[in-house]
Symmetry: C2
Subunit: 340 residues, 2 copies
């Protein structure tokens, strides 16, 4: 794990932020922490509110007495007991009795406070990783949250300039050179430096997962990856130099590969990771091929941060039918990354 300069090495604990209290967050947090795979990790707790979690024990199918609060003081050398679900209680949040499926400024505020607590714990060296349950963009915005999403929030709070969104799924791993920008605005952000940075962050990430000599591909920007300059020159002028630099650093990189071919090849395991240049180039194939199993990872941060790839699912909140699969995958991945 990367160690922030001048800080103590953080403890191995992983915090799961409960997300919007009116969404499926509380339910999937309980279900996930109750899952045998997560129980046996012995290092996970929820940052949430006890009373809301208690109300969600029934839909989550968890006995209420298995919930155990943990204090910040206890976290230092904490060894969660098997059979329990531990949580750090944010007692004073305003969302006291949220109605499932009805987000508000108060639920947004609560979701933000869980995040802030996670950053504070990390700064105090009490946790190494944060796994985030989904928040409502509208609700957090109403509560004054100024970031497009979790990713940018953690980058800002940890003073990180070079970071990227990466999706990790069994079928496909994709790192994004640009994310939430109008398509017209991606061109000025897709630079040789940025593509090189993505390759470097991608290689670091794969190394943490134990992938030896990772094979990475860069998607082209234009149809047929520019067809030798006939359909655009970014492949020649911007992407190829980044790949040269990466090769000079000893990285095994291929491309630019035609955007409509690169994901097929990655699915056939010809590549361990694809650098995608814009949101939909990555998200169209991901959603078609492996989204239910995908974990959203922020790479480049000094802390480990993973997330479910889905949203708050207000339409099914409180009904007991929410699938904790993505959250379980996100916690397991965080644990793998933390232990390196």
């Amino acid at each position: 794990m990367k160690k922030a300069t001048g800080r103590v090495k953080p403890g191995p604990m992983i915090a799961v932020t409960m997300g919007d209290p009116a969404g499926i967050g509380p339910e999937i947090c309980l279900k996930a922490l109750n899952a045998p795979d997560i129980q046996k990790l012995g290092r996970v707790f929820i940052i949430g509110k006890g009373s809301i979690l208690q109300k969600n024990t029934k839909p989550a199918g968890v006995t209420a007495k298995r919930l155990r609060p943990v204090t910040e003081k206890e976290l230092k050398d904490f060894k969660p007991g098997r059979g329990f679900i531990h949580y750090l209680d944010q007692k004073n949040i305003s969302a006291d009795d949220p109605k499932p499926g009805q987000p508000s400024q108060a639920t947004g505020q609560a979701a933000v406070e869980f995040l802030e607590r996670s950053v504070a714990l990390w700064k105090d060296g009490l946790i190494s990783g944060v796994v985030t349950a989904p928040i409502s963009k509208t609700a957090v915005k109403a509560a004054g949250f100024k970031f497009p999403g979790h990713t940018e929030y953690f980058a800002k709070k940890t003073g990180t300039k070079k970071y990227a969104m990466l999706f990790d799924s069994p079928e496909l791993k994709v790192i994004l050179a640009t994310v939430h920008l109008p398509l017209k605005d991606i061109f000025k952000e897709i630079t040789t430096q940025r593509i090189f940075d993505c390759l470097e962050m991608g290689a670091d990430y794969l190394a943490k997962l134990g992938v030896k000599n990772p094979r990475m591909a860069v998607a082209g920007l234009n149809p047929h990856a520019g067809e030798g300059g006939l359909l655009g020159r970014e492949e020649i002028e911007i992407i190829a130099p980044a790949m040269e630099e990466a090769r000079a650093e000893g990285l095994n990189v291929t491309g630019p590969v035609s955007p409509d071919i690169v994901f097929q090849k990655a699915l056939k395991k010809e590549f361990d990771l694809v650098v995608a240049l814009y949101h939909d180039q990555a998200l169209i194939p991901l959603k078609l091929k492996s989204f239910e199993k995908a974990v959203n990872v922020t790479v480049g941060l000094p802390l480990i941060r993973t997330s479910v790839a889905h949203g708050t699912a207000f339409d099914i909140a409180g009904q007991g039918c929410a699938d904790p699969g993505s959250l379980i995958a996100a916690i397991k991945l965080a644990a793998r990354l933390v232990s390196k």
Copy 2:
């Protein structure tokens, strides 16, 4: 079928152009015309060269004596006999003895001549549809062919200004608002008029296939379809007005739908057709989901034109292992469209 003004109604015959003689074209033409589904259509012949087709009978697994030349004169009231594979012989082409897998200016020239003959036959009212086997862009360019591909060639030769590339597969039908342009250049081509035209051509196409009250979707341009203007304004300023116009014409249209969701919805049969705004937005999902069964159709032309979606496959030419599935699908689709 649309009737070109001042022309006689063309006969029901469908010509299959043989494509590059050094590619898999000759082999898949023979295999496709030998297939029971195509034989029973009773209206299909190849525009190719007899001697090259003869050489391909062995890899195609077809008895040489089943090949039958047909003359232009005979085409007028032609009823192909069952059990035979008919071809119009372009005797004088220069690619006399092409080596499989080795395209040249001569094979490119031959491929162009097959196309020119098909246009001439259509102008003479002898055929209604053309199905194209793959050509080599390099070879036809060497032979002086000035078009990016078949689509633009047929548009020019039939004097058509409003046309579009459409991919038809059992899983997904997609019409493209722009095709072979650098990504940077799509913005000026994605106009309200163009999107409306695509919806209109899409509706005409689905009507020909007998789809009642077709449900069409337009993909957004930006991430999350612009998220209400936060991530781009084209959805509001350009796409929405096109959809209003289409609704005023009585069309059932949805969107703009987030580009990373619209294809999933179409795959679940929520839509009969998707209007995609640029090459990779269409081709990434198509190649991942249904490319081996996809047929490339040019809509908007006064003649029916379909094509295989794959290329010349020079690496396997002459080996007998080429799959005629896409060509068979293209011929069957052309026959459905011709008969309307």
